[in-house]
Each structure stands twice: as C-alpha cells, then as structure tokens.
C-alpha cells in the first residue's frame, strides 16, 4: 500500500507516526500538497493524509479541489475531532484523502491507520 503525506505542516511527524504504526507494510512519501493531490489523481497512491492548523484548510485544500469533496474527509477541525465511529464511517464510504488539525495528529491517526492499513 502507498500513502502520500501532503497537507501543509508537520509532515515529517505524520510520516513517522505512520511508519511507526505500519512498519514496512506501507511505503510513505512526503510531497507538497499540490504534488500529492496530483499524484493521487494520477492513481500513484492509495491514500492521502495531510494536516494544517485548521483541519480541512491547507490540509485538504488541493485534494478537495482536484479529487472532489466526495473523496475527502476532514477528521478534525479546531474545537472538534470526529468520533471514532464517524471516522470509521468516512473510511467505509470510500474516502481516500484525510485532513486534520496538526495538534490532533496522534489522536486521529491512532483511529484511522488501523482502519486503512490491514
């Protein structure tokens, strides 16, 4: 499985969290948000993960613009993290690009990674 880390900030930290969780089960690349969204569009990656300070701002902006809203889910925004069930729903709906607020990275990834990496 291939995951691309886009979004705006804390990319290295997110990559480390994913690698720590999945080891060599996934290959993780860090790209600029635009390049990452384009690579997703070209089918080079299975999932897009990104963070910014507002969740859904810089985290998902280019993904939403290029892939469309029906492919993207904002898992946390300031003042609100989606419940574990809601995150599960989003994954099951077939969303492939996830954005969240950087400060929630640990919380959100601990829920979403087990769902997408099997």
């Amino acid at each position: 499985m291939k995951i691309v880390v886009g979004g705006q900030i804390d990319k290295k930290k997110i990559k480390d969290i994913i690698v720590n969780f999945a080891g060599d089960k996934v290959s993780v690349d860090v790209l600029g948000d635009l390049d990452a969204a384009m690579a997703m569009q070209a089918g080079q990656y299975d999932y897009y993960i990104g963070a910014c300070n507002t969740g859904g701002g810089g985290a998902l902006a280019m993904a939403i613009a290029l892939l469309g809203m029906d492919q993207c889910a904002t898992l946390s925004m300031p003042g609100k993290i989606l419940s574990d069930e809601k995150i599960k729903e989003e994954v099951e709906k077939g969303k492939v690009a996830f954005g969240f607020t950087a400060q929630d990275a640990d919380n959100v990834l601990s829920v979403v990674l087990p769902l997408i990496i099997k």
């Binding site: 705006q8 900030i9 804390d10 600029g32 948000d33 635009l34 390049d35 384009m38 910014c52 300070n53 507002t54 969740g55 859904g56 701002g57 810089g58 985290a59 998902l60 902006a61 280019m62 939403i64 613009a65 290029l66 469309g68 809203m69 029906d70 904002t74 925004m77 300031p78 003042g79 609100k80 993290i81 419940s83 954005g99 607020t101 950087a102 400060q103 929630d104």
Partner: protein, 427 residues
C-alpha cells in the same frame, strides 16, 4: 469613520463571498470551487462554511480581539464567508449579504468596545493583565525564521540562523542609535533581527535548487479559473484597498503577531512580521485560487503590511488596491517562479508552522505571567491545567488560543470569587 470603514469591509466581503468571487478561509475555497463545478448544492455550501469557520471566529478570532482596540481579521472575514454563503443567490443575495455583512462589521466593533467598557465596571478589572498576555510575542517573534529554517532544512542551519539573528540584535542594541542633525534615530532591534533571519531563510530556500512543474501544470489545466479571477479584478482591488485602509487606521490586524506589535506601537516590526507572513501565504493562496477560480478578500495578505507601514488610511487605500492588482497580474507568472524555486514554495508552509509554534509558546508564557500577576496563588496552576487538560479533549481549543482564553476565564472566575467574598481584590 472607524464604523464606516468596518461596515464597508463587512458588507463588501460578504458580497464577494456570496458571489463566489473571494472567500477568506483557505480550506473553504476549494469547496466553493466544488460548488461552482456543480458537485455540491447551495445548502451544503452554506452548512460547510458554517462548520469550518464558526469555531474559528469564536475560538481563534475573538480571544485575540477581546480587550484590544484592534480586531483580528479572522473575526470579520471568516464570519463574512458564512454570511455570504448562507445568503440566497442572485440580486436578493447581493442585498441580503451586503446588509447583514455591514451590520455585522459595525456590531462587532461596537460589541468589542462595549466589552472594554464593561471591564471597568467589574469588581476586579483585569483588562490591563489581559493586555500583557502578548508581551513575550513582541520580542520572541523575531526568532521564527530560525525555526522555519530548522524545519525546512536541518537543526544546524537553524542554529546558524538563530546565531545571526541574535548577533544582529546585540549589535543593533549597542550601536543602532544614531544622531542625525540633532534627531535621535533608533533602529529597531527585533526588526533588524527579523530582517536578517528572513533573508537567510530565503537564501537557504533558493539554494536547495529544487524544481517542479506542478504549478505550471495547474495553471494550464485551470486557465479558465485564472480568467474568472481576473475578470473580477475591480471588486478584488476595492476589497484589498478597504482592508489596507482599515489596517492603516489600526482597526484590524491580519494575524496575532502583528496585532500585538501594533498594540505596542511597534509599527516597523509589525509591518515586517506581516510581510514575512505574507510570503508564507503566497503558495497556499495562489494554488487554491488557481484550482478554484475563487480569490481571497485580503489577497496574499501583503495588504496588511502596506496598511501598517503607511499608517494613513487615505494612502493605504490606493496602495492596497494596487497591491491586489499586482497580485492578480502575477497570478500566472508566480506559478512559474514557484516551480523554478520549489524551495521557496515549500518554505511557505514552514513559515506558517514556525510562526504558529513561536506564537503558541510565547502566548502560553505570556498568559502564565499575566495569570500569576492576577493571582499569585492560582494563576500558574490555572493556565497549566487548562493547557494540558485541553489536549485530551474531544473538542479541544486551538492550542495557540488556550493561553488567552485561560486568562479571560481566570479573570471571570476571580470576579465571581470576589463577589462571593472568597477572594480579595488586590489594591
């Protein structure tokens, strides 16, 4: 005068959001793009706008604006995104959004004045302490380029940048005062430090030699979007002119760092900080604009720097407008530039991250000092408690706003305690 400017600002920004010409929230812009493509309906657009922005108005914009005479722009332009998106389409929407937006601007300004007035009637007026929350920001902000360099490149380059910033601050502090025909001219220590840091940051970014072609591809895929933005140039120019004039009149500020510097009267430093922040926003705002055909009401935020540096609304108005005009002309060309110097594009997100980190820690310390001054018995405990416990919440406050919110809460609690005779108001 002040109410007229802020009323116009609110009205025009709401109309631009209503007509899908410009929205402030960078994450909301692609969603407007989806609406323009017919992928989502008007109701979803309005609801999403509310969901994205309302929490930020309350949790980010207001805490930085309460008790200050300057309003953080997020309070206004995130709200006008919502007003414009929830208003109906067509002529009716134009009128509805314009009127509500204008009333909102005026109401916000009056409301915040009312809050300042209300403070003086409290048993314990903690407004002066609230003002001191931003004190560490005023000096510490100059360090952000060093952190941005460390984040983008490595620890060692970050330390070099820090050393250069620190050295220039020491030198300016010692030798930065001149006598020019009897007038004492004092160079700003933090301002010069920041300038040196920003220059090093840009040089390091250019020297990475990274290139890409994705921005130019984006422009060619979405050329009709670029055309749509340029077609609306007159509205965008007027909007930018008003934002710049409002900043020059110190009614609004574009970010918490320059807001605190402006409140301390350090205009040169505020302008530099606003300008450096603008550099960080160029890639994000340009790429989202090109991909959606929707621009930002304050452009890439350079209009704030222009407003601060001119300090005169009448001068800021034409210059701010001209700035937006330049940005629109540069829309295609900048994409090429960002491709050639991909290191500079990547620098953008590190600038935003580092400003955020610096702000978070500086405000946290400022809040602790302020809280301790208010109540040496509970102050430190209260801020530390709120900051740490907040992180475990399912509905956490934005980290950088926790400090100011904690001080406001503590002030309210102390007042209640004073009324209950459980706490003695210090003399």
């Amino acid at each position: 005068m002040e109410l007229v400017i802020i009323g116009l600002l609110g009205a025009l920004a709401s109309i631009l959001a209503n007509k899908q010409i410009a929205v402030f929230h960078d994450g909301f812009r692609p969603i407007v793009g989806n609406y323009l493509n017919g992928k989502i309906d008007k109701k979803t657009l309005g609801v999403t706008s509310f969901a994205l922005s309302f929490g930020l108005v309350i949790g980010f914009g207001l805490p930085f604006s309460i008790g200050k005479s300057i309003i953080l722009i997020h309070c206004i332009l995130l709200a006008t995104d919502i007003i414009g998106s929830l208003s109906p389409e067509g002529k009716k929407g134009l009128i509805v959004s314009g009127v509500i937006g204008g009333l909102f601007g005026v109401g916000l300004s009056l409301g915040l004045d009312l809050i300042i007035e209300a403070f003086t009637h409290l048993p314990y007026n903690f407004l002066p302490h609230l003002g001191s929350v931003g004190k560490p920001v005023v000096v510490a902000f100059a360090v952000f380029p060093a952190l941005a360099v460390a984040l983008q490149h490595d620890f060692k380059k970050g330390m070099y940048t820090l050393a250069a910033i620190f050295a220039s601050m020491v030198l300016i502090n010692k030798y930065g005062t001149f006598d020019i025909s009897g007038n004492t001219v004092k160079l700003s220590m933090e301002g010069m430090g920041l300038l040196v840091g920003v220059i090093m940051m840009v040089v390091f970014a250019i020297r990475t030699g990274e290139t890409t072609s994705s921005n130019e591809q984006l422009v060619s895929i979405f050329s009709q979007n670029v055309a749509r933005i340029k077609k609306n140039w007159i509205y965008l120019v007027v909007m930018g002119a008003i934002v710049s004039a409002a900043t020059a009149a110190t009614i609004i500020a574009g970010d918490p760092i320059s807001l605190n510097l402006m409140a301390e009267g350090q205009m040169t430093e505020a302008a530099l900080a606003a300008f450096a922040r603008g550099i960080g926003f160029v890639p994000l705002i340009f790429t989202t604009a090109i991909a959606t055909g929707v621009y930002a009401p304050a452009g890439v935020t350079f209009v704030f720097a222009i407003g601060i540096i001119t300090g005169n609304p009448w001068l800021a108005f034409p210059l701010g407008g001209a700035m937006i005009g330049l940005e629109l002309l540069a829309l295609d060309g900048t994409a090429k530039f960002l491709d050639r110097f991909a290191g500079v594009k990547n620098m953008g997100e590190h600038i935003r991250t580092s400003m955020n980190n610096v702000l978070e820690i500086a405000l946290l310390v400022g809040s602790m000092i302020a809280a301790n001054a208010m109540s040496p018995k509970f102050g430190f405990l209260f801020v530390v408690a709120l900051y740490t416990i907040n992180r475990t919440s399912k509905k956490p406050l934005v980290n950088i706003a926790v400090g100011p919110i904690a001080v406001i809460l503590l002030g309210v609690i102390l007042n209640v305690l004073a009324l209950l005779n459980l706490w003695v108001v210090p003399v």
